[in-house]
Structure formats: C-alpha cells, structure tokens
Symmetry: C2
Subunit: 344 residues, 2 copies
C-alpha cells in the first residue's frame, strides 16, 4: 500500500494502445481528440484510479497554482478570518494555499518567504511580523518573479500591491467619539512603532486630539501595551498618576482593552462613568464583557477576500499599473457601553 506506483498517463495509454499525448489531451479537455477515444480514456482513467501528478504538470508548465500566505499567527481571530476570506476566493479559483506563520519573528518570516520562493508559488500574501527588521526578503520575492500582496501590516517603503484598513481614520473616529462623550483626558495604549498600523493609529489619536483643541500629554501615552497583561499594567500606571486619565483608548487590541477593564473592575472604578474604554478589532468577547466594549471592526474576512481578488483580478491579468494597487477597507467604529458616558 505504501509504495505501489500510482497510475500515470502512460499506464492508460498502454492499456488502450494509444499514445501518452492523446491521453494528456483527453484528460485536460483539449478539443483535438475524438469523442470516442476521449470517452474511452476518461473511462479507463477512472478504472485505474488515475490522479494527475500536479508536481509534474506544474514543473512542465512552469507555473504552480499555489499561493503562499505568511501571517504572524494563525490562531488569532483576526488573521484566521483573513485566511478564511483568502481561502474562499482561492479555493473557487482552484488554487492551493500554503500557510506559514512567522510567530512574530523576523527571522522566521524570512525563512517562510524563502520556502515559498523555493516552492515557486504564484503569489505571496504577507503581513509582516512585529519585530520586522528590513525588507530584503520582500525584495527578493520580486526578484524571483513572484507576485506580492501585502496586507494590514505592510512595509510602506515598498511599492507593492497592498490591502490596508484605514487604521488612522478608525483611531481618529474612536477618539473623536470619546471626546464627544465628554471625556477630557484620553490615554493611548500603543503598539510597536516599527509597525505601520500602530503608527497610523497613534497618528489618528493625535489628529483627533488636536482637531478638538486637546493638548497632547506625553505621559498618557504608553508604549508596547498590546496584551491583556500589558494593558493591565499600563492601566495601573496610568491610574496612579497625579492626574489620571478618564478614558483609555487601547489602540493595540481588544485584549489590551480587556486588561484595562480588569483593573478598573478590581479597583471599583465605574465604566463608562469614571473611565471610558475603547479597544480595537471587534473580537468576539467584546460584546460579552460587562459593560460591553466599544471597539473597531476591521472586516477581516473582507480583507482576505480583497487580498485574493487583488491577485486574481488585477495582478494576474496584468491590469492596474498604478491605479488600484492599494485597496482600502474602511473599518467601522462599534459603539458599545464602555464609552457611553452620556447615555447611561
């Protein structure tokens, strides 16, 4: 069972006293083969349990109907939804997906890209890791004639196709909403600034403050607070300031926002009356917390679909030179109880 030889087109040809090329033609639905022999070939192919060897045909044709995906983490809702979106499109196009996770490590990201290049994938969809160092590996993708679509966490300096998700405007909206609700001292939990998305979210925060004439208070901005625990620690620090904030925008993630809520509850601080909390990503649990958390939905599955469509509808057809190289998915502010100071 282990090592029996699989049937090839030659086996079929031999059995029917035909030539392998006829079999190939028949199986790939070419027109130049008579209906009778075609039927015969299809029949015996089935009998012999024939399966095409895609390694061989890929090699011969010089193209591999496979797309490589590199994400920081597979098992994070945001990314697994993107992958699901990608898969929905690629499956229907008959393409396979090779999935790699960088585990937020730059070194590993480089290795993933390397193996994908070796696999001769048609395209790579990639979101960079948290400790991104430089873009040599991404340049080498292009050097090997492989298409590249960056999404979400992208290297701006590289002129590739990109799917972005309006981080700056989302942060702007969120902070504006906090201001409209009457919060006066709004803190920011920010993520690693080598990632574009966190830079943009910070920019949105700053823009909203300045638009409403609010001062920028440096010690209300906490770096690297992007897990539940780090969010909680940051909150403890913030609340013990002489002039503590009355709202915290956890721009990094809903997990950080959850950490904020943890601390607020353990200290008996009322949310949203005494402290407003806003997260980022619309994780499932944000509607379950007490109070439910205001957050930003990024339409992650949509992002995935757009990434894949960008490849199939534009790149592959050689369309879109400059126009349409960048797709923007507009995120949406989801207002819930954790910031509704006025309405409670």
């Amino acid at each position: 069972m282990e090592n029996q030889k699989r049937t090839t087109i030659y086996d079929i040809a031999r059995k029917l006293d035909l030539n392998a090329s006829s079999v190939s033609r028949a199986l790939s639905g070419k027109s130049n083969v008579s209906e009778t022999t075609k039927a015969l070939i299809l029949k015996t192919a089935k009998e012999l349990n024939y399966r095409p060897n895609s390694m061989a045909s890929n090699l011969r044709r010089g193209e591999n109907r496979t797309i490589g995906v590199v994400v920081p983490r597979i098992n994070q809702n945001y990314f697994s939804n993107i992958i699901a979106g990608i898969e929905e499109v690629t499956y229907q196009k008959g393409y396979n997906l090779i999935i790699c996770q960088s585990n937020e490590s730059y070194e590993r990201e480089v290795k993933c890209v390397d193996t994908l290049i070796n696999q001769h994938v048609s395209c790579i969809f990639l979101s960079i890791s948290a400790d991104f160092e430089n873009n040599e590996h991404l340049k080498s993708v292009a050097e090997h004639g492989i298409n590249l679509v960056q999404f979400d966490r992208v290297d701006d300096s590289l002129d590739t196709y990109k799917v972005l998700c309006g981080n700056e405007e989302a942060a702007f909206e969120a902070v504006s909403h906090l201001i409209e609700q009457g919060y006066k001292r709004i803190a920011l939990l920010e993520g690693p600034q080598n990632l574009n998305i966190f830079k943009q979210r910070k920019a949105g925060y700053l823009a909203a403050l300045s638009k409403h004439g609010f001062p920028i208070i440096e010690n209300l901005i906490i770096e690297n607070a992007w897990t539940r625990e780090l969010g909680a620690n940051a909150t403890k620090d913030l609340l013990s300031l002489p002039e503590p904030p009355d709202a915290i925008f956890a721009s990094t993630s809903d997990f950080a926002a959850l950490g904020v809520l943890d601390v607020a509850q353990s200290k008996g601080i009322k949310v949203p009356q005494e402290l407003g909390i806003c997260g980022f990503s619309n994780e499932e649990f944000t509607q379950i917390t007490q109070p439910s958390l205001t957050t930003i939905d990024q339409f992650s599955k949509e992002i995935g679909k757009n990434v894949a469509n960008l490849y199939f509808q534009k790149m592959k057809k050689g369309l879109a030179t400059e126009v349409g190289k960048i797709v923007n998915i507009k995120p949406q502010l989801i207002i819930r109880n954790s910031t509704l100071k006025n309405s409670v």
Copy 2:
C-alpha cells in the same frame, strides 16, 4: 521582472565549467565533492541568487515534503489552534502545510482531499465535516499510498491513525460535577449525531446520569443545538417545560452555552443558583462572561502537535503497527462560577 528565467543548477555549472551533477551534490550537502569546489559552488549560487526548484526535486525524488490539512473551518479557535500546533512541528521538520477548509460541507471535503491527492502530499491530517456522508474519499487516500491521520472528528469505522480527545470521559466528568453540585434535572444540548464526538459526549452524559441513578428524560435532550442562537432557542423551549431543567450541559460548544446564558439573563434566572450551565471547548470568552462559564479544555494546540508527531515519529518511520495508532488527549474540566451552586 515577471518572466525572467530563474537560475538553475545548469547556470551555475556553466559558469564554473562544471557539471550539473556536481552542483546538485554540492548544494544538497553530499560528501562526495571536494571542499574547494563545494565552496565555489555555494558562493556562485548565492551570487546568481539561485533557489532550488522544489517542484523538480519533489518530482524526481518522488516525495513531496508537504502535508495537507483539512478542517471544517479555519477561523474557529479550536481548529486554528490545532493548525498552529501542527505548524509548529511541521515547520521545524522543514515540511510545508497546505490548508483546506471543508466549510462543514461533505462535497467540499471530498474536493479538498482530491486536490491533496493530486498534490502528492506525504500525509493528510483531517477532521471530518458536519454533514459527513461516507468514507470513500478517505479510503482513496490510502489507495494512493498517502498517509492519513484523523483527529477529533473521526470516522471510527476506518482503521487509520487517530488523535482523539476523550469526549466521553469529559462529558461524564462535567455531568458528574453538575450532579455533585446538587443539580437534579440536567438537560443536554447535543450536536449532529453523525459526528462521533457528539455521540461520545452524549454517551458520557448518559453514563453519568445512570451511574448516579438519575433517570433519562427524553425531552431534556435537545438535538442540533450548536450555535449561540440554537442554544438560546433550545433554552427557551426547555425553560417553558412543565418541569424545566435546573442545569444545562451544552455539550456542543461554548457558543451554545452562551446562548443559554443569554436567555437565563433575559429571563432573570439566576446562574448558578437556579440554573447551572456548562459548555465545551474553553473558548476565550468563557472566563469573561458573568458569571464565568464552566467548560472543558481540549488542549487544542496539543492535539495539533500530537497529530504531527504521530506522522513524523511513527508513521513515517514505519513504527507502530497496532500499538500507538490512536493517541488520546485527555481533556480537562474547568470549573467556574456558572455551575458552583454550592459555593456561592
């Protein structure tokens, strides 16, 4: 950029006035090649930006260092964690992963398996879809000399390697715990019975009842309640019975348990005093609800690692004929407030 030819071992050979076979030997680290030429080859390979063509070498060697994974849904915590576990092992072994999702559709599951067979993957890791019909496609995997590891949702009738996760004992423990807490009328939300896991969970429920001398009450058992909404509907029905249950075991998922909690809260029923609730899977949100939900942790990432290790440590080495074909991951009951009637 798009269509330039990639450098091959012939290009390197030509440049160094050597033979392609020497280059091949040098690059694949064989011993029978002098240190000097080896160094030379490696150097020029780098200069020419050479990348091995794995399609070609796979074809030649007759093996594809790729593993196919088929899951019902990629973007479900349980499965994405399993995939993360698988990836952790396969990455380190230098294997690639082709991921497919069946979307709980049998037809699509068959297609996924088909493409994986065509890809000549070394092994398929699979968890069957909800509307599983028959195992013809799984049999054909073996017929093509491809290894198969089933996990979690498996077809018991097939003699393959399996990674299971003690569904029956977990359900037994959960229901025993409910009984010990003093609940008298324990309802069951059950899933599609064509899936082994739901059958086993039901069996565990029944076994626990009978062990403690509890009667089996048919109308406390609700079929197909495995989403939040279906769980809520089932709960409404249950609570309007003349003799409603005082505990509900949502054996299908934590989402169903959440639906139960929704209804309890909207009806002002106190959890756990008037109604005990137990879920299944230890989703992230179960520790966030008010009250927190008792559930069962399945160690999903561990399952993934075990699946992959089963292949690398046993199947691939031809070890383990009968012994060790089935690995059992013991799940763990996580007791939280939603069932602690006695302690509140």
